[in-house]
């Protein structure tokens, strides 16, 4: 499967960014991104040149818009048409999301725990969510060196909490990239797993996010498959568990060759963890080389599992990468 290195949260002069789309896309290309989503605040006018700039830079540009409202910022991507962000009250976000879905778009919470108004207007999510199944994703890592920031840890914990509640929802990173500025801080990459179905790369990327085929990292790409009753299931897929006494085999792959030379981590032994509803289900040491790791996890009580890679980044022990979840459901009984 091809994993598309993506940056899903960006801005240009068309809102409050300090860059043209051309500059943004060529900056993304230099950093090894295959794809960006343009998510200017409340406008899609910056997409006028996007096909030309895709050809010039080789970077796929997913159309999008960040709803920049009084009660939260909601990133919407994959839709060609404008959806009005101004009419949705604090208790009406589901109407807004269904309009986005109606136009073929996905909706995600942007930086849900960033400090809100008046410091950062509308930045903290205050829309009332009645059904979490409606939201497609949560941007759990916002900004650079995201994993260590308290607001992102809260967002990550929110995601875990939703998975524990049985919700199937994706998790992404987003730099909220406003300008071409050099930084020493680690950059997160959201990898989207492209399927072989018909469509443009942009459409496949959006479909990958819709289906939870997502893996996020500041360095190596971590992917996972579950094997049950002889069949293989990828990230985002659902495994039907025939018997709670079964063991699920998880195969985790760590690929250090992605975006080679464009990220740097100290040579070290990482910790590879499998997490699920009851916390850490299994873990092992992982070296600084491409390798496959196998885990046997009892199916009983399992509703989701993800892989997490932990290590030392800029002197801090933190999460380096995480996959999105594989889901498990017991076979329906009579």
């Amino acid at each position: 499967m091809r994993w598309l290195a993506s940056e899903l949260h960006t801005h240009t002069f068309h809102s409050d960014g300090r860059q043209t789309l051309r500059k943004l896309a060529s900056g993304a290309a230099k950093l090894g991104f295959d794809c960006i989503a343009l998510t200017d605040h409340n406008t899609m006018s910056g997409l006028g040149d996007s096909e030309l700039i895709e050809r010039e830079t080789g970077v796929v540009i997913i159309p999008g818009m960040e709803w920049t409202t009084f009660y939260g910022h909601m990133v919407t991507i994959g839709l060609q048409d404008f959806v009005d962000w101004r009419k949705t009250g604090q208790s009406e976000i589901h109407e807004g999301i269904s309009m986005v879905h109606g136009r073929g778009g996905l909706a995600g919470m942007a930086h849900p725990f960033r400090i809100g108004s008046p410091v950062c207007t509308g930045c903290y999510w205050e829309y009332e969510i009645k059904d979490w199944n409606d939201l497609d994703y949560i941007e759990v890592w916002s900004g650079t060196f995201a994993s260590v920031k308290p607001e992102n840890r809260r967002a990550f914990a929110l995601w875990t909490d939703r998975l524990n509640a049985g919700i199937r929802i994706a998790a992404t990173s987003g730099r909220d990239w406003h300008e071409q500025a050099n930084t020493d801080e680690p950059l997160s990459v959201t990898y989207l797993g492209l399927d072989d179905e018909p469509g443009t790369i942009s459409q496949k990327a959006v479909r990958a996010l819709a289906q939870g085929r997502v893996s996020v990292t500041v360095g190596p790409l971590v992917t996972m498959e579950a094997e049950a009753a002889g069949a293989l299931y990828g990230i985002g897929e659902s495994v039907t568990v025939q018997n709670g006494a079964d063991l699920i085999q998880l195969h985790v792959k760590i690929d250090f060759s992605v975006r080679q030379t464009l990220w740097e981590l100290p040579k070290q032994d990482f910790t590879l963890k499998i997490t699920g509803i009851s916390g850490t289900l299994a873990q092992c040491a992982a070296g600084f080389a491409d390798q496959l790791y196998g885990f046997s996890i009892p199916a009983y009580g399992l509703i989701w599992a993800r892989a997490e890679l932990w290590g030392v980044v800029k002197g801090v022990r933190t999460m380096v990468a995480f996959t999105n979840a594989i889901y498990f459901e017991p076979v329906a009984t009579e």
Binding site: T12, F13, H14, S15, D16, D40, H41, N42, T43, M44, S45, G46, T68, F70, Y71, F82, D84, R86, F113, R114, I115, G116, S117, P118, V119, T121, G122, Y124, P150, R154
Partner: protein, 154 residues
Amino acid sequence: MLLNVSGQLAPIDSKRHITHQFRLDKPAAAIQIRFAYGPKLLEDDGQAKELIMISIGSYIAPEQQSPVREGWRRYLPLKNLLTLSIDDPDGYRGACHRHDAEQNLFLSEQEASDGLLSGKLALGEWSVTISVHSVVTEHCSYELSIWTEEADTA
């Protein structure tokens, strides 16, 4: 002049949209918009500190609040933020979500200011929406003027 209005806002107007309508009755080559508001900044650090502390109390996890309170000055200066979006008789023509307290914008068939969509300047009812994201000063006044450049009839 298609529209020339001014208004006075106060903190209580935060999180409101204010819509001003205007009619385009004659074909135009361009629509020009000037929007300005002020003051932009809350200069009184004492008042700013009070608002920042309220934000920290509401939005930062309890166990993180104490270091964030120590560093409250990093959030200075607090700003008023008003943004514009425009609708023509057929729908949305974009938004200018940026911090500039004075914006000179235009729309025409071929081109438009960043954030706005170029395209036909249809006759009929247009509107400009001022989204009051935040007013942190006691008063904030705005002025909005809209006029056309004549279509070339030669």
